[in-house]
């Protein structure tokens, strides 16, 4: 599998570390913080289809990427720097 790093270009998957879905860190100040954090940390998107997920280019530019990937075929549909795509 190859991942198109927006900075480095297309690289073999072995250069990257996988993190999982792109759940956002909840607002810690809300009343039901524990439930929201539980959901964000433990209840993962696990679709059989396109999946938005975080990868870290550990052996490259050290960028965190948001990669959209079809997990049925491993086809990478897009990749963006997390600093830009996290919004």
């Amino acid at each position: 599998m190859r991942i198109p790093c927006p900075f480095c270009g297309e690289r073999d998957v072995s250069e990257f570390a996988y993190h999982g879905d792109t759940a956002k860190r909840p607002d810690p100040a809300t009343d039901d913080g524990q439930r929201r954090f539980f959901e964000a940390v433990y209840l993962r998107d696990n679709p059989a289809g396109p999946h938005r997920e975080l990868w870290y280019h550990a052996q490259g530019c050290r960028s965190w990427l948001i990669v959209t990937r079809d997990v049925r075929t491993h086809e990478v549909l897009g990749a963006a720097l997390a600093t830009r795509g996290a919004a």
Partner: protein
């Protein structure tokens, strides 16, 4: 017997000027350069080459290619012995040594052949129904016997002496297979200037062109292949890899291939690898992997002398070998008639062409008549006869039902061809059944792949050349290279006609999977017992699971199951092919990375100095660290380590701590950032100070600990444990880039930039004053506990931290790593008068345990800050990673195992980490398990072993006695729970 008695006087692609000596089962023979072991054996009239898996049936050479199920040998001897090597793919080399397999005491007289008498018992899955009583007999009696009987060849049992390499390659177009279609594709694409790789598993490009007599562009096919090869070799943008099998298709246009660099030599040349594993990334691929000829399932079809028709042509035309003297051909396909014609022209008596079909093309009949070959249409072979030497006669059943015997020693059979499409299915795409081809043909394809020639069902030469040219052109164009259209190479052959047929009912064993001895009766049994899916059929009968991967057998078994269960081939489908398409040596996939090169080794800048100082080293992740420094006369490690601890606590010692992770954190928001990743506050840390901090994962458990030093309002340096350095860096980058991209903070690892030495002991300040007094004030007033300072030392930037892991007056000095060696030598020199000693990780560990400091044994991913006695550090004033989930009930349960110290009641008793904590008198059960010992040390100061443990409600139980239960080491020690701080609880020494 005359040597080489079956060799034709002329012809073939062998080099008769180069004679090669080899041996099989200890007997010497001769062959020629260009031979395979199989062709040379056949040339020497060796027909019996192996014994089958289950029934120990005598077996001979069946094919001339990598699909060979029978002719497997142990090649080479000693540490280089290779089991299950196909004689049909071994290039002959001088001194080649091969041995038959799965027989005892000899190939001719094999005791295992008695299994044949028991064959009615040994049907598919017989072992599931028996061998159950008595239960204890399975491991003791039945299974050892089964295991000894199974397997074919023997591994050497010794370390592989050869080397392997991995290579990365990138190209525009990868062409897989160098037969007619592949060569045509390579020629078309190569002329465009695109970067081409052409992989072919044979030593010579050409594929069937080297075995068949058809012409291309007006010259013999083999000549044409040589000519095209030369043109391709001259193109700088084309790379040809012969002896290279593409074994797998992976995501993103990645292909795995294996090049047999020196397997055709007795052993590799100096600095030459045995094999290379290529990882090829290709924008496009043209698969031109050809087709595999199908056997016919009839009684006795496994006898030596029953061969595949196209294989027979290979032996005749490529190797100039007559595989028999009196032959018959049995087929349902036009192609096999060519075998009869070629045999006849080579001087072999062809006694019959037996075609299952009632009618065939008139020109075939005409040619047979011309060559005086009797033809039987609508006829079959129902039985064979022969002995260990192989086939002696066949039984022919004519169209009118009458049977007759035909004495022959060679039967060439063919039920047609199956596209070799394994590589089209590796990404999960399924082939489709084509009635027109009577075969599964590629359907949906991996991205970027196209299929040309016989692999796509184009079994005729002209069509294969046309497809190759067209798809090679298209692939190059798709990667942006313009093609000046050139015509496809010409051949004028006819499309091949065939009628599919699969098996004949037979009273004797009719083999489907030759290597696994799966017969038509086994398939029938599977159908009867409900194993009707092709996948269940495979698993129940082991059809297609032998080393030939079912290349010749799958289709026949599936067809028979379809027929037995009244389904069409399209309905029943085929099993999936998975990588590797050709078996690959495990060593090749490891490449360079074995032995000491399994993983790289990280060495600190002071490593050479430590070696010279008689250090013993220990692996700490990828690092090698000095574990202790034995002095003359010290014979056991405990003496050395205790001496090191005593010397540090009484004088001064130095320890290389460069392996600790170091992260430079800068930016106007650096303090805010650290507040969010540590449980305690760092924005309030004064410049020139360090602070101990703990990081949690977002799930509330401790991830790592360390210190952060502040050198400027916008500049911190964070330290991590050695083990977690990369993990913490990733975690902080996640926080910076994903969680809070709005913060002005920059991170970079400086682990490698700084060599860092811990100097500890009552003499530490004096030493540093001697060493650095001219450039930095190390007095307690100027550099109190947890102070830090940057300065220039002998024109080099340096840092000094007043920190302590040992509980002694301690400092860490850091210099850029290129000066790390010089620095440790300078420290040792200056420390001589203070009695300095170097100490290693063991003494470091002893001293931290004496002080109750937690380390990796306690920060094991399952402990909370409170478990480690650090709960009070958790800030109430701010949010930080892990704060919310750390408050879940399961993580705040007062019953959780919590850090305590341990002291053995018997001061002589030894403690061991990994022991479990039980109440005195409690039975050793899981329910009574109250915790475990995490770390132990012999404390020279106390004169006995001490330990740290995580025990339920530990801190409330100081003074209580428990058992440290360690049955795997016969340990059961009574201990007292005590404070984890064994030495200097007030910290007087630290502040000294």
């Amino acid at each position: 017997m005359m040597p080489d008695s079956n060799r034709l006087a002329s012809g073939g692609l062998i080099d008769r000027s180069k004679t090669i000596g080899f041996s099989f089962d200890g007997r010497s023979y001769r062959g020629y350069a260009g031979d395979t072991l199989a062709s040379a054996l056949l040339a020497n009239d060796v027909r019996l080459v192996g014994r089958s898996f289950k029934y120990h049936r005598p077996r001979g050479i069946m094919t001339a290619g990598p699909e060979e199920p029978n002719a497997l040998v142990e090649l080479r001897a000693g540490a280089r012995r290779e089991p299950n090597t196909r004689a049909t793919t071994i290039a002959l080399f001088d001194g080649l040594e091969a041995w038959s397999q799965n027989r005892w005491p000899s190939l001719r007289y094999d005791v295992g052949a008695i299994n044949w008498l028991l064959s009615p018992l040994f049907v598919a899955g017989f072992y599931y129904k028996t061998f159950m009583w008595p239960a204890a007999f399975w491991e003791k009696v039945y299974e050892p016997a089964i295991r000894r009987a199974a397997g074919l060849g023997r591994a050497s049992g010794e370390a592989d002496p050869d080397t392997y390499e991995k290579i990365n390659a990138f190209c525009d177009v990868l062409i897989i297979g160098g037969g007619a279609a592949g060569l045509a594709a390579a020629l078309a694409a190569g002329r465009s200037g695109a970067r081409i790789m052409l992989c072919d598993e044979d030593c010579t490009l050409g594929g069937r062109l080297n075995s068949d007599l058809g012409e291309v562009d007006g010259r013999p096919g083999a000549d044409w292949a040589r000519h095209v090869t030369a043109e391709l070799e001259a193109l700088p943008n084309v790379r040809i890899l012969s002896r290279t099998s593409v074994f797998g298709v992976y995501d993103g246009g990645t292909y795995g291939a294996l090049e047999r660099v020196s397997d055709h030599l007795a052993e590799p040349q100096p600095h030459q690898s045995r094999q290379r594993y290529w990882k090829i990334v290709a924008k496009r691929a043209v698969l031109a992997s050809g087709a595999i000829e199908r056997p016919i399932v009839f009684g006795g079809n496994d006898r030596p002398g029953v061969m595949m028709a196209a294989g027979v042509r290979s032996y005749l035309n490529r190797y100039a070998v007559k595989p028999g003297r009196r032959a018959a051909v049995y087929t349902g396909c036009d192609d096999a008639w060519t075998t009869a014609f070629d045999l006849a022209r080579s001087g072999v008596t062809v006694t019959a062409i037996i075609d299952h079909r009632a009618t065939v093309a008139p020109q075939l009949r005409a040619e047979a008549t011309r060559l005086a070959i009797p033809v039987h249409l609508g006829a079959d072979v129902t039985q064979t006869r022969g002995g260990r030497r192989g086939l002696q006669a066949i039984t022919l059943r004519r169209a009118d039902g009458r049977e007759q015997g035909l004495p022959v020693d060679l039967l060439a059979m063919s039920a047609g061809w199956s596209p070799h499409l394994a590589l089209t299915t590796h990404l999960g795409h399924r082939p489709r059944w084509s009635e027109a081809h009577a075969a599964f043909v590629p359907d949906a394809l991996p991205p970027g792949m196209s299929v040309a020639g016989a692999a796509a069902g184009a079994f005729g030469l002209a069509e294969a050349l046309r497809q190759g040219t067209a798809l090679g052109t298209a692939a190059a164009e798709a990667t942006g290279f313009a093609i000046t259209a050139a015509p496809a190479p010409r051949a004028d052959d006819e499309p091949i006609a065939l009628a599919p047929f699969w098996h004949l009912g037979s009273s004797s064993k009719a083999f489907i999977d030759f290597q696994h001895d799966v017969t038509s009766a086994d398939v029938a049994l599977a159908a009867r017992e409900g194993f009707r899916s092709v996948e269940l059929l495979k698993r129940y009968t082991t059809l297609g699971m032998a080393t030939d991967q079912g290349k010749t057998s799958n289709i026949n078994g599936q067809a028979m199951m379809a027929e037995l269960t009244g389904r069409s081939m399209a309905e029943i489908g085929t099993t999936m092919f998975r990588a590797p398409a050709t078996p690959v040596a495990i060593g090749a996939l490891a490449g360079h990375h074995r032995g000491r090169d399994f993983r790289p080794t990280r060495l600190t800048a002071g490593h050479g100095w430590a070696e010279q100082s008689n250090a013993s080293f220990v692996e700490a992740g990828a690092w090698l660290r000095a574990q202790w420094f034995a002095q003359p006369g010290e014979t056991d490690w405990l003496t050395t380590v205790s001496r090191e601890v005593r010397d540090v606590r009484s004088k001064v010692g130095v320890c290389d701590v460069s392996t600790l992770g170091k992260i430079d954190v800068q930016g106007s928001d650096a303090g805010t950032f650290l507040d969010r990743v540590y449980i305690n506050m760092f924005s309030t840390l004064p410049v020139g100070k360090t602070r101990y901090g703990v990081m949690l994962r977002e799930d509330g458990l401790v991830m790592d600990d360390g210190t952060a030093a502040r050198f400027a309002p916008d500049h911190y340096v964070v330290s991590t444990t050695t083990a977690n350095a990369a993990k913490v860096m990733q975690h902080l980058e996640h926080a910076r880039q994903v969680l809070w991209p709005e913060l002005d903070v920059q991170l970079v690892s400086v682990t490698e930039q700084w060599s860092q030495y811990s100097i500890a002991g009552p003499g530490a300040r004096q030493l540093l004053d001697r060493l650095l007094g001219d450039v930095v004030d190390v007095s307690d007033a100027a550099l109190p506990y947890l102070g830090c300072v940057e300065f220039t030392w002998r024109d080099v930037p340096a840092r000094l931290f007043r920190v302590s892991f040992s509980g002694e007056l301690g400092y860490e000095i850091a210099v850029p790593a290129q000066y790390g060696d010089a620095a440790i030598r300078a420290i040792m020199e200056a420390g001589a008068e203070f009695g300095i000693i170097p100490y290693g990780t063991e003494a470091l560990g002893v001293m931290r345990i004496e002080k109750g400091h937690v380390a990796g044994n306690e920060i094991n991913g399952t402990t909370t800050a409170a478990d480690l006695g650090l709960g009070r550090m958790m800030s109430q004033k701010k949010d930080y990673i892990g704060r919310v989930l750390a408050h879940r009930p399961g993580l705040t349960d007062p019953d959780r195992p919590t850090l305590v110290g341990l002291r053995p009641i018997n001061p002589m008793a030894r403690l061991r980490a990994g022991a479990h904590m039980l109440a005195l008198g409690a039975a050793p059960t899981t329910e009574n398990d109250e915790g475990y010992v995490t770390s132990i040390a012999f404390s020279p100061a106390l004169g006995h072993w001490i330990g740290l443990a995580l025990v339920k409600r530990g801190p409330a139980r100081h003074g209580e006695r428990m058992r440290a239960y360690d049955p795997v080491r016969d340990g059961d020690t009574e201990v007292e729970l005590v404070s984890p701080v064994f030495i200097d609880p007030q910290g007087a020494r630290l502040h000294g």
